[in-house]
């Protein structure tokens, strides 16, 4: 009898153990184990305090609308000033930040943005391949929710104004994610 009584309890215990020890997944992104690691990035003063939150959270603009090269190239690309002006020649033209942007535009200059996320020159990182793996070739993933994939490495940018570096982006961070997601482990995949 004791065996019968203990059996469900044991099963429940094993289930809890398995649940606890299995990787915590973002329910939102299927077939993915997000990388672990935090970085306490300092604030980077930018020429214009660009509000990511207004664009990505409040107005729900897709990250790739502005960072249009991410799906096509190794770099995501800072949007061309002409893209900003596409909207802001009519939207929010009374705001000081937009007026500053317009000044740059009229001088035919791009704002000298400061780089926040970077990897060393000896690391070949490509946005294109990562978006293919986690978004475009990922069954059950909708492209509208790409920001959740971006957040793997860039954090919750839609809750920030100017971007802040919140992930370490170092080799351990990359390698653990590659291990968890069956990414390539050849040295020359990144160091070439």
């Amino acid at each position: 009898m004791a065996r019968v009584l203990w059996a469900p309890f044991l099963a429940a215990l094993v289930a809890v153990f398995v649940l606890l020890s299995s990787p915590v997944t973002y329910a939102e992104v299927p077939n993915a184990v997000p990388p672990k690691g935090e970085h306490n990035g300092k604030d980077v003063p930018q020429p214009i305090e660009f509000p990511h939150d207004i664009h990505a959270k409040i107005n729900e603009i897709n990250c790739m609308y502005c960072h249009t090269y991410a799906r096509r190239s190794k770099v995501a690309g800072i949007p061309p000033t002409s893209k900003c002006m596409g909207c802001h020649s009519v939207i929010a033209t009374d705001k000081p930040r937009i007026q500053k942007l317009t000044e740059y535009w009229e001088k035919r200059e791009s704002p000298p943005w400061k780089k926040v996320h970077d990897v060393p020159d000896y690391v070949h990182f490509t946005h294109e391949k990562h978006l293919k793996r986690f978004v475009f070739d990922n069954e059950g993933m909708e492209v509208e929710r790409v920001s959740e994939v971006c957040a793997f490495c860039h954090g919750e940018v839609k809750n920030m104004t100017v971007a802040n570096k919140v992930k370490p982006l170092n080799m351990g961070f990359c390698v653990r994610c590659h291990e968890a997601n069956d990414g390539p482990s050849d040295c020359w995949k990144c160091h070439k």
Partner: protein, 736 residues
């Protein structure tokens, strides 16, 4: 690695704890690989071009300008910057391949020592000037009101072809001048003259790929030859399948010699005797018929029996026998002559003797075949040599010119010191204009006006290869990126501006060289856009006609020289070439293919000679000709004739920027005033020298071998095997 907080001890500790997990924890130290935020700027496009994706390269076709071969290239451009050059697969010159010099073109382009502003000589010094001042000076000196008589003007250039050659000619026409001197130190001018006389065409097509045996008399077709990439590709075919046999006879082992199955150290200047000795062997031993040759030539061949040939040339009889056997049994064969054979005081005779051997072997029409002639002779390459350098020096001495334009050449460096060219130019020519990218010797020492040029990656042009290939093509040169400096200009643009001063009726219509070129292409009924895309305009050419005609040669007796007992070999290599690439660090760092010395000069010497002098590798020696002395370190090596001292060209620059200046010695300065009687070409390999111990010694910095100063720190940059191992594993037949 600034800010790296893992020192070596920490690293070893981490590794000592073992386990990948622990090692990876090291990778998590943020400062090891994490860059500081906000340090660099990332500037976006203001308005992107539709076809530009940052991070993705685009390729433009253009033509390599690192040597006169004219290989087609694809330049990879990213974010408006050229990053890499590769061969254009459609080019019949290089079939998509590119050599180290071509690869290093990018470093020439980004060289920090580029000339970026015009300079005018004032009171002996070059002073920075504006383009307005420079053009005003040009107008004053060569404009229509300058009073410059046409025959008082000359061009002095390296090889030019295509529409640049047309513009060079046009400027001469507008002035009424007829003098265009073309100077290349690495050349085949004597062979061209022999070919013209004996075949009827100067540049037939050589089919290295069709040959089953090749005998090269110093023709370094894999290295410092006329089209190294093209011939190396054909050589690969030659060596595959029914593996062709390569024999090389030369005084000092070249890159081609190092690849030979049979290498023969020949006494310099006796290559013609060796060629006729082999011809004699073919007749005597192998019963080859030579009835088609004139009686006097047949008679001459009989003079060189095996013993006589071996005695004169210093090549052992059994080697001559073996070479003859191979040439006899493996047809078709091909005999080539190169600079060490033909740049002698009787170089024409030597080269003609090698062509006679081709005729005895029946190679003409089989491996020496008609090439395709470009139907536009005005675009053909104007090939250079050293005869023009001699003629120019003489004309300058006689005060023949008031104005000379220099382009794509550096005679103040390459001219032998006996010519005293720089001094004569300074005193006898009133106005010397140097069009150049770099502050070379000619610009710094003799120019009155220096005009800074765009790099080849920033400029327009068309090029026609000098050698003959399957197809006749005009190879396009187009800018791969915006000019790095706003104050350099294109060669064509400058010449066009001078032309406009003198002949605005004909040239005033062209806004710039681009307009001129695109209109010229219209005249050729060529699709301009398509040509820009492919980089090549293939044109229907006429096949050359070859008429073989044997000439009698006369080979002088070999003479010893008691005062200067050694021969100087100023060898050229694929890399520094004639010294034009000494300002490219990659090519300085790339070791010499034979000695593996980097960043310096050296003197190659046979072990027996070194023993006689009591020197070993690293010891300094003086090498003295009747024109002067240079001092450099010895490199003792078997692949050289015991009577020869070889000092490579390329170093010993007095100017030419931070990477070239003050490094090594220039053997061209020692060249004696001797020349080939028939062609006027300098006897570059005909100088006799004496050698003495300088009494000091230092490590000779080489990259290769197991020696203390040759360590590669386990990097295997240059793999080496001993000759014994090579014989065992690679099946080499004869290694000196």
């Amino acid at each position: 690695m600034s800010g790296n907080q893992i020192n070596r001890r920490d690293f070893l500790k981490i590794m000592g704890w073992s386990g990948a997990g622990v090692a990876l924890a090291g990778c998590d130290r943020p400062t090891t690989v994490t860059l500081h935020e906000g340090k660099e700027e990332v500037v976006s496009y203001l308005m992107p071009e539709e076809y530009v994706i940052p991070g993705v390269g685009v390729y433009y076709a253009t033509t390599c300008q690192q040597c006169p071969a004219g290989c087609g290239i694809h330049g990879r451009v990213r974010e408006g910057r050229v990053l890499k050059a590769e061969g254009n697969p459609d080019s019949p010159v290089n079939y998509g391949k590119l050599c180290q010099m071509g690869q290093a073109g990018v470093q020439g382009h980004y060289n920090p020592d580029r000339m970026t502003k015009p300079h005018i000589r004032k009171g002996g010094n070059l002073v920075e000037a504006s383009w307005d001042e420079a053009m005003a000076l040009l107008k004053q000196k060569v404009g229509p009101d300058s009073g410059l008589a046409g025959d008082r003007f000359a061009w002095f250039t390296g090889q030019v072809s295509g529409h640049q050659a047309v513009l060079v000619n046009a400027l001469m026409d507008s002035l009424g001048s007829e003098r265009h001197y073309v100077h290349e130190v690495v050349n085949n001018a004597v062979t061209r003259a022999v070919n013209k006389d004996m075949l009827g065409v100067a540049t037939p097509r050589y089919r290295i790929d069709e040959a089953k045996a090749i005998l090269s008399f110093g023709a370094d077709f894999l290295g410092a030859g006329q089209s190294p990439v093209h011939y190396a590709t054909e050589y690969a075919t030659f060596r595959t399948g029914d593996r062709g046999v390569l024999m090389v006879a030369e005084p000092k082992m070249s890159l081609t010699g190092a690849n030979a199955d049979l290498w023969m150290a020949v006494r310099p200047g006796t290559e013609g005797v060796l060629a006729l000795g082999i011809a004699n062997e073919l007749v005597i031993r192998h019963k080859r018929k030579i009835d088609n040759l004139p009686a006097e030539v047949r008679d001459l061949i009989t003079h060189y029996d095996l013993d006589t040939t071996a005695q004169i040339t210093g090549v052992a009889g059994d080697r001559i026998v073996k070479a003859t056997q191979w040439l006899h049994s493996r047809t078709p064969s091909l005999v080539l002559a190169g600079q060490s054979a033909e740049n002698q005081a009787h170089g024409y005779q030597i080269a003609a003797a090698t062509m006679l051997l081709n005729m005895v072997l029946g190679n003409v029409g089989r491996t020496i075949v008609p090439g395709t002639e470009l139907p536009f002779p005005q675009l053909a390459a104007k090939q250079g040599g050293t005869a023009d350098l001699r003629a120019f020096a003489k004309a300058v001495e006689q005060g023949a010119y008031d104005a000379v334009f220099f382009y794509n050449t550096n005679p103040a460096y390459t001219a032998p010191s006996y010519m005293k060219l720089a001094e004569k130019l300074q005193s006898k020519v009133g106005f010397k204009v140097v069009l150049t990218q770099f502050p070379d010797e000619t610009a710094k020492q003799i120019a009155d006006l220096v005009l800074p040029l765009h790099s080849p990656f920033e400029d327009w042009g068309t090029h026609v290869a000098a050698s003959s290939y399957d197809e006749a093509v005009i190879s396009m040169q187009q800018p791969l990126m915006e000019p790095l400096y706003p104050t350099t200009r294109g060669f064509g643009d400058i010449v066009l501006d001078v032309l406009k001063m003198r002949d605005s009726d004909n040239y005033g219509q062209y806004a710039d060289y681009y307009a001129y070129l695109s209109q010229a292409f219209g005249a050729l009924s060529a699709d301009w856009q398509k040509t820009l895309q492919t980089g090549l305009l293939k044109v229907e050419g006429q096949a050359q006609r070859i008429n073989a005609k044997a000439v009698k040669v006369s080979l002088p007796d070999y003479k010893q020289n008691a005062e200067f007992p050694y021969h100087l070999v100023p060898s050229a290599r694929l890399g520094l070439w004639d010294g034009r690439h000494a300002n490219i660090p990659w090519l300085q760092e790339a070791p010499d293919q034979i000695s593996k010395v980097v960043w310096d000069s050296w003197a190659e010497m046979h072990p027996a000679t070194a023993d006689k002098l009591g020197v070993s590798t690293g010891d300094y020696i003086t090498v003295t000709s009747d024109q002067g002395t240079i001092e450099t370190q010895v490199y003792v090596f078997n692949g050289i004739h015991p009577d020869v001292v070889a000092v490579p060209m390329g170093q010993g620059h007095e100017e030419y920027g931070r990477y070239a200046k003050g490094r090594g010695v220039n053997p061209l300065k020692l060249i004696s005033p001797k020349h080939d009687a028939k062609t006027g070409e300098l006897a570059l390999y005909g100088t006799r020298v004496k050698v003495a111990k300088a009494g000091r010694s230092e490590a000779l910095v080489r990259m290769g071998g197991p020696g203390r100063n040759e360590a590669q720190l386990g990097r295997k940059l240059v793999a080496t095997v001993t000759a014994d191992v090579y014989r065992r594993t690679e099946g080499a037949n004869d290694v000196a």
